[in-house]
């Protein structure tokens, strides 16, 4: 990210780091652990989007389709539900079904 160029009194231009870059530096950048975590989150979301297709699915159905552990599927489906990407549809036996809303 480019530093901002600011003009001081006297016409001298100096480069000033943006606060976000200062914080990034102070934190030592994005840690490898967080990079892995974020990459895995995106991978799981992609798998779930494909597994949902156009229909409503239960957590075990999504787990079977994605080969993910059911508790992992549940956590991510609930996260997507909280932020409006998934909605609960109806009860099917011992489970509820969920579907994607199309919201990004």
């Amino acid at each position: 990210m480019a530093d901002e160029v600011k003009e001081q009194a006297g016409g001298q231009k100096v480069k000033q780091q943006r606060p976000i870059d200062v914080l990034r530096q102070r934190m030592g950048g994005v840690s490898d652990e967080l990079k892995e975590y974020f990459k895995e989150q995106n991978r799981i979301r992609k798998l779930l989007s494909e597994a949902f297709g156009q229909g409503a699915r239960t957590v075990p159905e999504l787990a079977q389709a994605t080969k993910l552990e059911p508790h992992v599927v549940l956590w991510h489906v609930m996260a997507m539900k909280k932020y409006g990407r998934v909605v609960e549809v109806e009860q099917k036996g011992d489970y509820f079904t969920y579907a994607m809303t199309g919201k990004e």
Partner: protein
């Protein structure tokens, strides 16, 4: 952050129900109070509860007015996301060092719109929902949070800058640093609340290992309509449970855990949760495995009787020896049924809630030189006649900081501590003149 005053009549450590009540009781008498809370919102444990026993009143409905009153009281200043680092006696008063953690949000400018949270790309485990649900790297702590202000967890931040771009009031401030503050105070009240015993303390119960062995705070969140699932589901796979077990004394009355005492609230919260679960899930079977049921308070015995006679909760006097996880994540309990000659049985359940014990949430070592009793809670110098007096003159203790107790007892003790603090301020002569007194 708005500057702190150099002096407060009282500093209350802990922004849960006890701390808020103590602050309000002092504030209403005209004393100026600083209420310090380490989490990004006041409310403590109570704001995370679904309902309270034995009335089954909505916990938020009781707690949020106290939160709002504390936040808007002209004599109370709330300092959240901050910790007390050192309290030193100076004559009759105190010098207090505080550390304020950076929210990376300008509190005064944030309108709590949560647009930053909506655009943040990183989902993180939500501590408020006992990590069963998600939040974003930048997030409003919860729907009832006070202040209703975002906080950024830099450990989950990828520095994409989306929150900064979307914020309508430009209040994201990545340049914030932790700050050290110092105030003088006439008196201190310690109201630091509780935590539960570790869920994995007894390996034979599989807590922390088996997904469907839950701690009671997690079950409170699952039961809550604003909880992680929006309804009662099993954590391993989202199944609607048909059978739930409670294991009593799973963290108390146990010398091996260093918790020889009874935690006082576990029987009642188990009964409360059991009754509520019966209302929330059709045809749900609930069994409470107990050593003895302690229902000592006002209407507690009636509440226990209601659970048996009206709600159909089963009570089995049995010691649970072991919990075994099945391949489908069902749980098999090996119990010794004491009502039937100690016969051993194996019983299957979908979820097991361990009624964990109560520990003090905070220890003062290195911060305030007040003594703890052998059970780890703060020591009262005159337990029978003045239970809120600590071992340091001018420092008062209240709520679960002094020992396990329920919400009404905590509130009563908060009032007692506030009264003792007020008397100390008046008798010691330590109080400094204040410019205004809040109208009653």
């Amino acid at each position: 952050m708005q500057p702190l005053k150099s002096y407060y009549d009282g500093v209350v450590i802990g922004g849960g129900i006890t701390g808020m009540q103590a602050a309000l009781d002092l504030g209403e008498q005209g004393y100026e109070v600083l209420l310090v809370e380490r989490e990004p919102s006041i409310g403590g444990k109570m704001i995370a509860l679904n309902k309270v026993f034995p009335t089954l009143d909505c916990s938020s409905c009781i707690c949020t007015p106290r939160m709002a009153e504390s936040a808007h009281h002209s004599n109370i200043r709330i300092l959240t996301y901050s910790e007390v680092r050192r309290v030193e006696k100076r004559g009759k008063g105190f010098s207090i060092n505080l550390e304020c953690k950076p929210r990376y949000v300008v509190e005064e400018d944030c309108i709590g719109c949560s647009r930053c949270e909506q655009v943040c790309p990183v989902d993180a485990p939500h501590e408020f929902d006992e990590k069963l649900g998600a939040r974003r790297a930048v997030y409003i702590p919860h729907g009832n949070a006070i202040p209703q202000v975002a906080v950024l967890d830099a450990n989950y931040c990828t520095f994409c800058g989306k929150c900064e771009k979307i914020c309508p009031t430009n209040c994201i401030d990545f340049a914030q640093l932790p700050t050290q503050e110092k105030v003088e105070a006439g008196t201190v009240i310690v109201a630091t609340g509780l935590k539960t015993t570790p869920i994995d303390a007894k390996p034979e119960y599989g807590g922390g290992k088996f997904l469907n062995v839950m701690d009671p705070m997690a079950m409170e969140r699952v039961q809550s309509s604003n909880g992680p699932y929006g309804r009662v589901l099993r954590p391993s796979d989202g199944k609607v449970p048909k059978s739930i077990a409670y294991v009593q004394c799973a963290g108390s009355r146990d010398e091996t855990l260093g918790v020889p005492y009874c935690s006082r609230v576990c029987c009642m919260y188990a009964i409360k949760q059991a009754i509520l679960l019966k209302h929330l899930v059709q045809d749900l079977d609930i069994t409470i495995y107990y050593m003895d049921i302690r229902a000592f308070g006002k209407n507690f015995e009636q509440f226990y009787r209601r659970a048996i006679e009206e709600e159909g909760v089963k009570f089995v006097k049995a010691k649970v020896a072991k919990i075994i996880e099945q391949p489908n994540k069902d749980l098999l309990l090996r119990v010794e049924d004491m009502e039937h000659g100690g016969v051993r049985r194996e019983v299957r359940h979908d979820i097991v809630v361990l009624s964990l014990g109560t520990l003090p949430a905070w220890h003062a070592a290195g911060v305030i030189d007040i003594a703890e009793a052998s059970d780890g809670f703060f020591e009262c110098v005159a337990q029978k006649i003045s239970p809120t007096r600590s071992t340091m003159d001018g420092v008062f203790i209240a709520g679960v900081a002094t020992g396990p107790k329920d919400i009404p007892d905590s509130i009563v003790e908060a009032g007692a501590a506030a009264m003792e603090a007020a008397m100390y301020l008046e008798r010691s002569g330590v109080r400094r003149p204040v410019a205004e007194v809040a109208a009653y």
